[in-house]
Amino acid sequence: MSEQSGEPPRGAGPHEHAHPDAETYLRVAAALVVLTVLEVGVFYVPAFRPVLVPTLLVLSALKFSLVVLFYMHLKMDSPFFSFLFGAPLLLATGVLVALLFLFFGTLTLRGAAGAG
């Protein structure tokens, strides 16, 4: 549902970051609403229980990307802004994963490594 990117930049001037028009914004909003409904729906359907966490993470990542790419214009804006946002975001994710690993991984890992 993110194919609306092909639109020609409105009032395309010499500058590279023409913004999408209102129609694109509305379509993204519709996608966001659908995804949110899916999220909440999945939460209430017992059949999804075993894959609930990965499903929710994927849906959330989709919403995150839609807002960042279209509403924050990273898709059409300078790639350097994507770097300024992406590098710390990567770091932030790394820190989160590392901390989860350090707090929840060690007990089992220590057990696996045996005594001493």
Binding site: P88, L99, L102, F103, T106, R110, A113
Partner: protein
Amino acid sequence: MKRWITTTDHKRIGLLYFWTAFCFFLVGGLEALLIRLQLAQPNGHLVSAETYNQLFTMHGTTMVFLALMPLSASFFNYIVPLQIGARDVAFPRLNAFSYWVFLLGGLLLNASWLVGPLFHAPHWNVAPNGGWFGYANLTERQFSPGPNIDFWLLGLQILGISSLAAGFNFIVTILNMRAPGMKMLRVPAFSWMTLVTQFLVITAFPVITVGLVFLMFDRFFGTHFYVATAGATPLLWQHLFWLFGHPEVYILILPAMGIVSEVLPTFARKPLFGYTVVVFSGVLIGFMGWGVWSHHMFAVGLGPIADSVFAGTTMLIAVPTGVKIFNWIATLWGGDIRGSTALHFAVGFIAMFIIGGLSGVTHASPPADLQQTDTYYVVAHIHYVLFGGTVLGLFAGIYYWWPKMTGRLLSEPLGKWHFWLTFVGMNLAFFPMHLIGLLGMPRRIYTYTPELGVSALNLVSTVGAFLIAVAILVFLVNVLRTRTHGRPAPNDPWGGATLEWSIPSPPPVYNFSVIPTVASRLPRWKTERHEPMRDPPAVPPAPIHVPPGSWWPLIAALGLPVLALAPLTHTLWLAFLGAAILLVGIYRWAFEPFEV
């Protein structure tokens, strides 16, 4: 006076940073001397155990946050815009705001030495006493009931705002304000290291801010972030602190590495050996600096896998650092060396930083680290890195850029005295600490018995500390003498390659009469492919717009200490007052006419 208070000129702000940070450096040094006097002999009784705790906590906190970081910031401010050929930083008022927040935060932190009676304490000093890394849960209200830790956590939060604001400012300045033709790989090494440092600042400071906010909530609002009985673990604090703390180490050392990378080529009359490698090593150090924090925590028992991973990353980070050292040595090799004071300090930096780096690698091995943790060996390491490294590097920068910043050359003979006294003093002071630590003396202990067998070594260390003090006095004499007797500096007293040497010393308020166009990485030197640039004319050919000063950065900054006083004194209305001052400052700032 008003022109200094409302200034938005990066050069004035640089000088304000310098003198403020240097005063804090003297205060931190005084604290160190008291510590060394207390430890000069066994069973010392110069200060009480409580005062001793405050002394070592404030010595560490002051040196890291109020002396070394802002001394580096003074060069970021003064030198970076000149090196990249800009008229000012990207956001001059934000720059002023950073300075005022730093000053006020530093004053708040140090006010804790004098305000004991206001908090019904039996003595004057209620300074922070939990160590510079303030380990929870010692810092909880239950174990530290006084206002000491409150000063620390509020002061550090304020200082964090200053660093963050400066971080955004310098990132944009270096990326976006370069003179025409100055591609990223023509940016001088010092400005490059500044850029890496600022990326570390803007990513690391939010983490400690969160850690400090948790501590603040624990102490003031009864939460349990670090309270073990509620199921929490004090390890969280250690993780959050060192997630910040290790990048902070590189925030402290990278600017000094940048300075050395400027000083060596100038006085060896050779381009920096492997400029690109030096730059990318700095970037790599910045990235890898994020993956080593748990090596500060080997002693808590993280398990073999975590220990192995962090030992590995820690040993790896020595590689780009070693690469830089070889590049510096190769820069000197075969050079036309002039032994100026700045070069003495720069070479001293290399030698001392190698020692600090090597003892650092010994901590990287968890079994060895378990023997060293919390002993004087660690104190020796940090001082070889931060004094032998950062302080010597900063003094190299001071002697190198002093003529540019003040228009007068410091005395070289006095400078040599300063260097050799510092060099001998620091090795006397810090080398014995390796042995003291390995012999079993813990750090942060206010006295020891003669039976430990470290009395003589401690005395040597104290003598060394006082030699450093004498060296600092020589420097101050040099500074005072230079004010009246110093030789006036020409545009370029050293034959430097970078843009700051193409303009008068000190530079006019607009810096460059004409913004230069840069055609090479060493614009003022003749290379195989490039003629030296022509310096900008002494008189600007067209009038230059210089932004006026502004009161609002100072006013907005004033809101922060007022806000901090609210929890400190348990006075709610101060919080509203502080927020109001901050808001008024920001709104007036946003809407005042200010043309950059």
